[in-house]
């Protein structure tokens, strides 16, 4: 058999069979991709949330450290001055609580 004839026959025998696209397979892959995309978004949201909480925790620790360094408060009679380290700490703590308890976060992660 001539080389060209062998090559022609091998091509005919080895080439992928001609047929229309398999819609079931395509739909299955599409479903997998959508699930994968949702998981990726949830993972990203979880990392963002973790970073935010770590930053909040670091800020609170820093404030307590500053407070501890600045010695006992003067006669404040239990009132925290707004423009002080303690005031800033309370503000950060409040913001942290608000951010952490946003109802949307849990739904996004799920």
């Amino acid at each position: 058999m001539m080389d060209e004839e062998v090559d022609r026959q091998l091509k005919a025998l080895l080439a992928a069979p001609g047929r229309p696209a398999d819609e079931t397979f395509a739909a299955r892959v599409e479903r997998l991709v959508l699930i994968d995309e949702r998981l990726r978004r949830a993972r990203r949201a979880a990392w963002r949330r973790l970073a935010l909480e770590m930053a909040g925790a670091a800020a609170v620790i820093l404030v307590f450290f500053v407070l501890e360094r600045s010695g006992p408060a003067a006669d404040s009679a239990g009132i925290v001055p707004p423009f002080s380290a303690a005031g800033a700490g309370l503000l950060l703590l409040t913001l942290w609580v608000i951010v952490s308890s946003r109802p949307g976060d849990g739904a996004e992660a799920a």
Partner: protein, 168 residues
């Protein structure tokens, strides 16, 4: 019809519909390639894995070669990984299949001869002899040097030609 590169760009930006169009366009060849490599054993699972992996790394597709070639490279890598994880024979060893029975049908003879080839020769034959990829493209898909690829194709072609001529 929108080209692969443009669809891939849209898909990389998160357009799932564009990606599904690419899956529809290329699933036939990817599945046929994996089907012949695995001899049907888990080929569709590997094909799904190939398309999922491709979706995750779409940003890496630079359009330097064909999109299909890029997909086949992912499929080939996944095939090698699955083979290693199942502790199958190395890709250069002949695959153990039933001894060939002469039946006069050239398609069946060639299929049997193909199944008996080591995986690397089988892949090289499918890409170059079946799908018409150039040696350079096939070498890039299989990530082997060009000289190695040429030897693989030559050995595979000789074995398949023998089967075709009824002397396999």
């Amino acid at each position: 019809m929108e080209g692969d590169e443009s669809l891939a760009k849209r898909a990389a930006a998160g357009d799932v519909a564009a990606y599904t169009a690419l899956v529809r366009r290329h699933e036939r060849r990817v599945r046929a390639f994996l089907g012949r490599l695995t001899r049907g054993d888990g080929a569709d699972d590997l094909a799904q894995e190939t398309f999922l992996k491709a979706w995750r790394v779409l940003g890496d597709f630079r359009g330097e070669g064909s999109f299909e070639g890029w997909l086949l490279r992912i499929a080939w890598r996944l095939f090698l990984t699955s083979r290693r994880s199942r502790r199958e024979a190395p890709v250069d060893a002949p695959d153990g299949v039933d001894p060939r029975v002469e039946d006069g049908n050239s398609r069946i003879d060639v299929e049997r001869a193909l199944a008996r080839l080591p995986a690397r020769e089988r892949a090289a034959a499918l890409l170059c002899l079946g799908e018409g990829y150039s040696h350079g493209e096939a070498a890039a898909i299989m990530e082997v040097p060009l000289g190695t690829l040429k030897s693989l194709v030559a050995r595979a072609r000789a074995a398949l030609a023998r089967a075709l001529e009824g002397h396999g």
